[in-house]
């Protein structure tokens, strides 16, 4: 292992190693850059010229195909589609991120506890997960959305609550193998408490697979949100997500195809990029490939 003097000074962490490998993966870099750009544009949409108001109507204009003034065209009410896609992206990405964070927080804690304590605790905790798993989850989400208010917060909760199950399983599996490591026993022999061992010694070692799974959860959640919105159970008007935009456009797809095309394209591209990035991260973080 050759390290330059400068690098050796602070030590090459495994994270830095992974970052170096990720940068060499062209697809991942392109995807990451695209996502970054998308993130900036959607984040700044309210202050960017031309897309600040997605609800500005121009009834006289009506639906027009893409033009110089309206790159993505306009919808039936004459609203600029680019602005609507940008603002819809805010909702879609927010749902994806927040629901993933919810599943991350719940799943990692739950799975790590189950795996670390093992035995009967683990058995009960995982049977509970199995029971939830066996429920038709989309049905569950739809039920939640119908029963409670169809607010965006409810959407976060509903999607996150479903996603944490897989996360918990993954983390538990990882923890089961990692807790066999001698450094965990060494930490115990030094009098370190359970909490510190779980969160300082065990969980950081599972972060690789967790991050990979999280990057793959974001697109899955976004897709589910689009699906729910398509069914009219997701984001409610006047708010719009990519899913509702596609839905709106689908009704008039024979006349104004661009109304579905652009938000659909935005969604598809984002999902592609997240998956590529997830793949790249998996390759970069996989310890078995760490032989260069």
């Amino acid at each position: 292992m050759q390290t330059s003097a400068v690098e050796a000074e602070r030590g090459t962490s495994l994270w830095r190693d992974a970052w170096r490998r990720l940068r060499r993966n062209r697809m991942a870099v392109v995807s990451g850059s695209f996502l970054l750009l998308l993130g900036v544009v959607t984040l700044l949409a309210p202050v960017l010229p031309g897309m600040s108001d997605p609800e500005l109507q121009n009834l006289e204009l009506g639906a027009t195909s893409p033009s110089f003034a309206h790159p993505f065209g306009t919808d039936i009410l004459g609203r600029d589609l680019l602005a609507r896609v940008a603002h819809g992206g805010r909702i879609s990405i927010l749902v994806g991120l927040v629901a993933t964070l919810v599943s991350f927080a719940v799943g990692v804690g739950y799975g790590a506890a189950a795996g670390y304590f093992g035995g009967r605790v683990d058995n009960w905790m995982m049977r509970f997960v199995d029971v939830l798993y066996s429920l038709p989850y989309m049905f569950l989400v739809i039920l939640l959305m119908v029963y409670f208010s169809r607010s965006i917060v409810m959407l976060f909760v509903a999607l996150g609550l479903v996603q944490w199950l897989t996360m918990a399983r993954i983390v538990r599996g990882q923890v089961l193998s990692i807790k066999q490591n001698e450094y965990v026993e060494a930490a115990r022999s030094m009098g370190t408490g359970h909490f510190a061992i779980i969160f300082r010694h065990v969980v950081p070692n599972t972060l690789g697979p967790i991050i990979v799974y999280a990057t793959l959860t974001v697109p899955a959640v976004m897709l589910q949100e689009a699906f729910l919105s398509f069914l009219g159970l997701g984001v409610q008007p006047p708010q719009a997500s990519w899913g509702t935009l596609v839905n709106d456009g689908a009704r008039v797809i024979a006349f104004f195809p661009w109304l579905s095309l652009f938000p659909g394209l935005a969604l598809a591209l984002t999902l592609f990029c997240l998956n590529f990035l997830g793949d790249g991260l998996r390759d970069a973080l996989d310890p078995h490939l760490r032989h260069d």
């Binding site: 495994l14 450094y183 026993e185 115990r188 022999s189 408490g193 950081p204 070692n205």
Partner: protein
């Protein structure tokens, strides 16, 4: 650390008086320890009536084949036996006026790493690859000494220097994978000694290292033992290491100590057939060259052991009584005890 209950005051029985010819304050007394594992095939009696005494500043070599229970015995002392499937069923471990087996887990945690610490076999895997070396050291100090960051850092770097790590301040910020096996074992030793423990348990500390590095590590442990007055339990299967390092040797077989004596005495005058067989299976550099004699058979299954001495199937001197009953300890020399019905001499 003077122990009012079990310290120096051991003039009571003859047995203890003899044992005390080796002198020294008793820091740890293990009495009739039984540790079992519940497995699908039955109950494995990994430690089956183990007793020994550890004295301040001394090194006790615990020798035995794989599966003789030496590691489990020491995990039991720190109550680190994985539970389930493991279970300490009976016995007493006296330390600092307490019975470690009766302590609540929180008190036990305060002892681990502070008053009794442990070094493991494989230095390549005993350090967390994701944490900087220094963080793993300061963690121990924050835990036990309530030290601030910078004080802990200074103490840890000082400790790294003491165990012979060059450029300790640089290594402090490095990661384990940048170090060789010998260096990592030095780090482990530094970590174990950070809080100046009374007892250091070293579980095959040099098995995973090159022979040259082995010698360095053993030297280091000897120096530090003298400097800190730490008592050491050295677990090993290598009689060579014991000969050069330990003051006393206890030979383990099937979860029990079969023979115990000061090191020189044990090598000069082994009295248990198993010890004899072990010594005969060792190559020597001096004297006549005999053929090495391997010990026939295999270590016994520890599931449902037959009554009597577990060494019987492999023993050349076995008699009827050996199959019936396990022999009590016999004193055969100064501080030399053996558990055998037969009077064997090398």
């Amino acid at each position: 650390m003077q122990n009012p209950l079990f310290g120096n005051d051991t003039m009571g029985t003859v047995m203890q008086a003899t044992a005390d010819e080796t002198g020294g304050i008793r820091v740890l007394e293990v009495e009739d320890l039984h540790t079992i594992f519940d497995t699908e095939d039955g109950v494995v009696r990994a430690v089956d009536g183990l007793s020994f005494v550890l004295r301040q500043g001394r090194t006790l070599g615990l020798v035995g084949e794989s599966g003789s229970g030496k590691s489990v015995a020491n995990l039991s002392i720190l109550r680190l036996v994985p539970q389930p499937p493991g279970r300490i069923v009976s016995g007493r471990i006296r330390f600092g006026g307490m019975d470690l087996l009766a302590l609540p887990e929180s008190k036990m945690r305060a002892i681990r790493g502070k008053r009794i610490s442990m070094i493991f076999q494989d230095p390549m895997t005993s350090l967390n690859p994701y944490l900087r070396v220094g963080r793993q050291l300061t963690e121990v100090l924050e835990q036990h000494e309530r030290m601030g960051r910078s004080a802990a850092r200074a103490r840890a770097i000082d400790m790294l220097a003491r165990v012979g790590i060059p450029e300790p301040a640089v290594r402090f910020d490095g990661y384990p994978h940048e170090m060789s096996g010998g260096m990592r074992q030095r780090v482990m030793i530094a970590m174990a000694l950070l809080c100046k423990p009374e007892i250091l348990i070293a579980d095959e500390p040099t098995t995973a290292l090159d022979v040259t590095v082995q010698a360095q590590i053993l030297d280091l442990m000897r120096d530090l033992r003298q400097e800190y007055g730490t008592a050491v339990v050295l677990i090993t299967h290598d009689l060579g290491i014991v000969a050069g390092t330990a003051d006393e040797v206890a030979v383990m077989y099937a979860g029990r100590i079969v023979e115990q004596a000061p090191t020189a005495e044990l090598f000069a005058n082994p009295r248990h057939p198993y010890t004899l067989a072990l010594l005969r299976s060792l190559p020597r550099l001096t004297g006549e060259r005999d053929r090495l004699v391997p010990i026939p058979g295999r270590p016994p299954r520890l599931i449902d052991p037959a009554s009597g001495c577990p060494f019987v199937p492999r023993c050349a001197h076995a008699q009827d009584v050996c199959r019936r009953e396990y022999p009590a300890g016999r004193n055969v020399g100064p501080a030399h005890d053996v558990h055998c019905w037969v009077d064997v001499t090398g």
